[in-house]
């Protein structure tokens, strides 16, 4: 029962993330949708797979390692993309920009 709920939640979150990439105005807000929804959706789907499959415990532990790696690497990649886009010259559509004050 709980694995079905986790699977459905993960897929709904993934769909909302894709919708956010289409609807948000610029790079940085799109990165919000991409990072959070992909991390949460993938981790919940992996948890559901751990609960649902009948495999030895070592394979489930490997899936846990995979979830840990996703949770560590996803924010780093998002930070790298955001910083690279800012250094390349993509202007954010923001109210206040303290990063441009300090790095003219």
């Amino acid at each position: 029962m709980i694995e079905i709920i986790l699977l459905l939640f993960g897929e709904a979150v993934m769909v909302f993330g894709a919708l956010g990439i289409l609807r948000f105005p610029d790079v940085y807000t799109r990165l919000h949708a991409a990072t959070k929804c992909d991390t949460g959706g993938a981790m919940s789907i992996i948890l559901a797979l751990i609960l649902i499959m009948d495999a030895p415990a070592v394979v489930r532990a490997k899936f846990l390692v995979l979830a840990f790696l996703i949770a560590m690497i996803n924010p780093m990649v998002s930070h790298a993309i955001a910083r690279g886009a800012y250094r390349y010259g993509v202007k954010p559509k923001v109210v206040v920009d303290m990063y441009a004050w300090d790095n003219p």
Partner: protein, 201 residues
């Protein structure tokens, strides 16, 4: 004229911060404890990845990870504070601090997913880039703090600047509420920094 006392006060503050920083630098873990912690982490990873309980595989993994840990002892554990005995510290970390952090982050991640879904539906965004100050000084602690800020609702770390004992984070905030640095820091960092200050310096 009226700016001079402020300048002196700021200068003294900076000097005190630097002295504290040097003190923490002097009170790191001794080298063999760093080797042991790195070896334990790498050995656990080896056991999970290979997944075979045979004695030959375990001995090979122990030898290889001990060799790697002797060379790479500063990579993971250079920034851990020295408080108390090492076994006590490992037990505290494995059974109190780590589950606490995992539970906090799991609920924050759930909340951030729901909040992004709400933002996608209603499009009530008001983005801004703010600069907040962090009390942490170590590299590993700042990396974990920045990743946690990226996964908490509504915020995304853009860059980190570290100048002589002071650390500043630039955060892209999707729903800008305040420009005050202390209030924004409290709102963004939450209780994760309190958790991190117990382990890293």
């Amino acid at each position: 004229m009226s700016r001079v006392p402020f300048y002196l006060k700021e200068r003294l503050e900076g000097l005190r911060e630097r002295v504290i920083h040097e003190g923490f630098e002097a009170s790191k873990l001794p080298p063999w404890e760093r080797v042991v912690i790195t070896w334990v982490v790498l050995m656990a990873f080896w056991v999970v990845i290979t997944g075979s309980p045979r004695a030959g595989d375990l001995a090979l993994g122990a030898a290889v990870t001990l060799m790697i840990a002797a060379f790479m002892r500063d990579l993971l554990t250079e920034d851990i504070r020295r408080t108390g005995h090492i076994v006590e510290k490992l037990l505290y970390f494995a059974f109190i601090y780590l589950p606490q952090y995992l539970v906090i982050m799991a609920f924050r991640l759930l909340e951030s997913n729901l909040k992004v879904a709400k933002n996608v539906i209603f499009m009530d965004i008001n983005p801004g880039i703010v600069k907040i100050k962090s009390d942490l000084h170590s590299d590993t602690g700042i990396a974990i703090l920045a990743n946690s800020i990226t996964l908490t609702p509504g915020t995304l770390t853009l860059d980190v600047s570290k100048k002589l004992g002071e650390t500043y984070l630039y955060v892209h905030w999707i729903d800008l509420e305040t420009l005050n640095r202390e209030k924004a820091g409290e709102k963004i960092k939450g209780d994760i920094e309190e958790w991190l200050k117990k382990v890293f310096w």
